[in-house]
Subunit: 177 residues, 2 copies
Amino acid sequence: MDVSKTDERRSVIVDRLADHVLAHGLVSASLRPLAKAAGTSDRMLLYYFADKSELLAATLQRIAERMTEAMAAKVSPEPLPLDLLRKRLAGMLFEDRFWPYMCVWIELASRAARGDPLYAPIAQAIGQGFLAWGEAQLAADSDEARSRDAARLLVSIEGMVLVRAIGLSETVDRSLG
Amino acid sequence: MDVSKTDERRSVIVDRLADHVLAHGLVSASLRPLAKAAGTSDRMLLYYFADKSELLAATLQRIAERMTEAMAAKVSPEPLPLDLLRKRLAGMLFEDRFWPYMCVWIELASRAARGDPLYAPIAQAIGQGFLAWGEAQLAADSDEARSRDAARLLVSIEGMVLVRAIGLSETVDRSLG
DNA sequence: TAGCTCTTGTAGCGACTGCTACATTATTGT
DNA sequence: ACAATAATGTAGCAGTCGCTACAAGAGCTA
């Protein structure tokens, strides 16, 4: 059966939607601009997706997948101590090519914070994925220490991202020094 | 002169707008709902304020003032080391009555991250205000250490806020342990 | 070739957006 | 008391929002 035909076209659309959301944010993710970015019509977006929520969920999932791939490519051959991993990760996330992901991430968090039923579970899942990634990367004496360090990694990375978001990059640098 | 008359009414309105934004977020801060919350009409909001930007700037400033007052009330008589101040502050910011401020703060940051000309300067100013507050609270051996610790305080507090926003409160706790 | 499903365009609905023109009432200063 | 100014209501404009009814083309199957 060629459910694949439809799925393939859906996938192409989702890719372009992801590009658009990364470039312009969830705040300008309304159907007509998204459709134009995907080279189609709002009518067709709602043909391939039940409604806007489903469309955005698929788009955010795609964005998360891209980020996961990028981070998988950054896996170190051996476990790293917290300080070192934090610095390497910070260096990566502040690259220009990754900053759009961080912008969307904050936007996602701001909606999750209000308990939005669409965004809150997505944001939580991404956060837990990051924790798991951190635990796999970290050198630690015990499982307890590993879990604690992963939590600290997540917290400090998110803090750096948010502080940079408000235009205080040099404060981020100072905190690392 | 009773410019005061107008200013007084503006101030009452701003107070109610602040309540509404804290309760429902910037995302639902459109003129008609705001007006209803302020007990007036959209027409009158634009009578007292030049446009929506000016109105929101005033509202966010009011919100920041309230937060500043709350933090001023929490000043410790003597300087505190970083770890202790961090824990006390985290305990405060995660109280139910302060969480709405954190939600608005993340929303503000998400818009600042995209360089929004209205929100970016406001967010940056608030961030710098926090840094100054932290430097005044921290015990440190040198100005350099004080500045670095204030940066670390800001980064870790923001990180905890963001991680809690995505529903991972227990991860925040683990990071503090 | 007839019919059927998949795909797509057109047009529009009702709600909401920021904002404004116009008119009217209330208040104030002289 | 009268004129000027401040304050407010009504109505609406032009645009966007998510979404949908309707119809027509495209492609396949019998």
